[in-house]
Amino acid sequence: MNWKLKDVLMMGIISVLFGVIYLGCTYAGGILSGVLTPMGLSALGYEPFYGIYFMAGAFGVYVMRKPGAGIISEMLAAIIECLLGNYFGPIIILSGLVQGIGIELLIALFRYKKFSYPTMIAASVICSVLTLLYNLVVSGYNQIAVPVLLLMLAVRIISAIIFSGVLTKLVCDRLAKAGVLRGYAVGKEFAMSEE
């Protein structure tokens, strides 16, 4: 795969930035989760921020538009988060792989040519479902009652639509318009539309 050093650094630094934003949200999620613990819904507290997890992958594949961009970006983000001291350590590399596949699956089916809002939103929904399936097995969520799982999935999907579906595209398009992403596939599309 043809990745340039600057692509790797760009994704690495963006992942760090998302990682720090995510860390801030983890504190918020932790407080929310703590509040929800007496009601037995602690895991729900983290669900509103799930979309931010998917942003690194969505950003990578949206900007670079080539096979593997989503998966590699999400795994880079996971390795970096592991180094920054996430208490699940290398386990999040495994979740990163699942998230990367989730976000890239639909875009790959469209041969990396369609990047409209509906595509990005649908990719985010697929990613939410796939990651919940992963949670069912690995986190033991299959022990939880179905209505609660559906509630968690619903919150996760809404979060994913907002953050990785809409916000990622919005921010990338603005960055491309500002001319910052000239060296990447998304920047070329904007350069063409302005001519």
Binding site: A43, P90, I92, Q143, A145, G183
Partner: protein, 250 residues
Amino acid sequence: MNNLRVERWNPSVKMFTVLLSVILLSFQYKIMVTLGVFLFCLIMMIFFSDARFKSIIKILIPATFAALGMFVMGLYYSKNNSITSMDVSDISSVPYALRAAMSTNLISAAQLGSRILAYAGLGIFFSLTTDEEFFISSLMHQCHLSPKFAYGILAAVHLVPNLGKEYKNAVFAFRTRGIRVGVFSLKPVFAMLVNSIYWSENIAMAMQSKGFSDNESRTYYIEPKVGVYDILLSIAILSLIVFAINSAPI
């Protein structure tokens, strides 16, 4: 004594041991096994590593809260006897419904909570006993991660302390222009995104101008190797988990 430190364990082998342990634990529900794995990780960290006791406790606090949260969640909403499936229209029956659910769900609750503890134990064990440069070097030598990814990751990680400064700069820049910036404002974040992309281009250029090349052969400062003991330790731990899964009563 220094030979017995888990810091010396090859990081790639250690990582795969942790990941394989997680996969083994995913397909079983025995509380003794999950708690055993958690205790084992603690013992390894306290007696066979240089990890400071204080940092172990500090990182364990959020993990314990997460485990406690999952425990209470299991207590209320296990699929066997969830309070969602009960008739709670009659308000006087609610405490009874809660108690009934709790008594039958205790085991699944313990299964859920202890599983999070086991994962956190494994994760913390890895994080606190692995040097980041040694880990990335090992990924290069054992997992064939290309040097541009390896050094890209390290460069990004080392930029973290600058992000806070950059955020403050962005906020000040907006203020001097008379633009209000609130705590949740996305404006400085957008400015940081722009700067991050410029940074990445500049760092890439700086690395290349210093002669960094991905295709040519290079020398390495640290060259981790996999020895017999690395593999033996991994096999021993994984067999212990398999043995525990097969023989533990609950």
